[in-house]
Amino acid sequence: MADDGTLFVMPSLGADMEAGTLVAWRAKVGDRVKRGDVVADVETEKGVIEVEIFHEGVLIELLVSPGTKVPVGTALARIAAEGATHVDSVSDTDSVSVSDADTVSDSVSDTDSVSDSVAVSDTDSVSDTDSVSDTDSVSESVSDSVSVSVSDTVSVSDTDSVSDTVSVSASDVVTDSASITDASPRSRITPAARALARAHALSLETLRGRGRDGVILLRDVELALAARPNATPAARRQARALGVELSTVEGHGRHGVILLDDLPPSATKAAPTPPSATEPIDPQARMRAAIAAATSRSKREIPHYYLTHTVELSAALAALEARNASRPPTERVLPAALVLRAVARALRKHPELNAHVVDGRVIPRETVDLGVAVSLRGGGLVAPSIARADELELDALMAALTDLVERARAGNLRASQMAPGSLTVTSLGERGVDVVVPVIFPPQVAIVGVGTLATRPWVVGEACLPRPTLTLSLAADHRVTDGHAGARFLARVADLLARADL
């Protein structure tokens, strides 16, 4: 196969994003790019986002010009691996192979119920690849303990009644799977991610791998699924057959699910309606619409339960004050960072709350990425995330928070910050709110609210003393966890937060 490069596609920058407008290229043809380079500005309902690239190589073609609005997954540019000459690739869809000469070829056995470890071997699936390096780090970055069971039932997410579940006969599924050609045999993907993509008839071509060296992780598939319009499997097949972009189709099923009837019959190939025709132009109105869509879906689909837990913070605040007193303002840490750290570390111990629900399926997540609700001046809200927040020390977490808030308010978040987090922390404590009763952001399964930090009566022994306290709250998805698990999580957050060890 000739080396036609890797595609850089319009990423999904949030569960509710269906399309984005390319505002500007930050790189030009011939530029050498590496992982993490910002190569484009993309506008969504949430503002203009700096989009990083997750491939390494030379930009050989820009496929979309600035000002164009394209659906998530659309190829934006082509990148050639640097030094790539000619690599034979394996087209057997069940073995994963890589063709970029500077990366590792690995062969991964594909199973449907998955223990997600990647076997990296210098194997028969490797052909002309001349350097096999990094195998240790690859296996490290893609191995995880998540397991996904893939059933033959595709369900449209809906909890109202059982009858809303769309069942597909086995033969449908077979047809469906068979039609997933891994058009790019070079995509490397973990078995769990492959199984999930297959179960949802998701083409691997449209996926962007966030694992090391662009390996597609379970999370990447979840993100792509979350960004996909809800449609029945039959409608999806029909859309694919017709070449119709689902995001341009209005669904008339329950909750807007796209039905087969919503698509034109096979004979007439419909021209997709321009996506911008019905959308409000005003950014404020668009953001309002995006928030309305996400919260309406949340309140419609997610059976929330709510818990609160008040925590006494004198020891932690005294420690923080002492630390800040000896540091210049640039190195000061706000109590908000303490709260984030406690939530992130508690979440690591409660993986049941670190999951997304996608199409009615619970998908465990691999890392603790903390969403932070940031209110914008002039109204509106975004919930960007801090990747691997549980691994950050306090200073690093504070720096990440500062950057996140600044970028969110300036409207120039990075794409990596736009990925939906494990769960979100929302604080209304600055305005005197006692307790936040929050709304879960789909596809997340929980959200933590933070009330006002204030001096309140607190019983110590036999005495009632004035002490700084705040009330944490948790809203969680009852389809995924019960109050008991939520209460244990919240107690752990409170316990970590109350500690004086910074």
Binding site: E321, N324, A325, P328, P329, T330, R332, L334, P335, A336, R377, L401, T402, V405, E430
Partner: protein, 80 residues
Amino acid sequence: MNHDALVSLLRRRLDDIVPGQADSLDLDDDFRDELDLDSMDVLKLVRALHEELKVDVPDTEVGRLRTLRDFASFLEARVG
């Protein structure tokens, strides 16, 4: 730097944080409430003042300085 100059400086730095609203602040307005500032915004202001005036507003003081008048007075006592 006198009190009036410090008030002007505070307005400029607040304008960086919330564009277009600092000029209309009265000296005795609670500027956090008026401009809807949160603790991150206030820290940003403190950092900017530290860089410009080399004056540190400690954590323990920040919460007490609610108005432009008070804030400027605090700075005036510490700037040459």
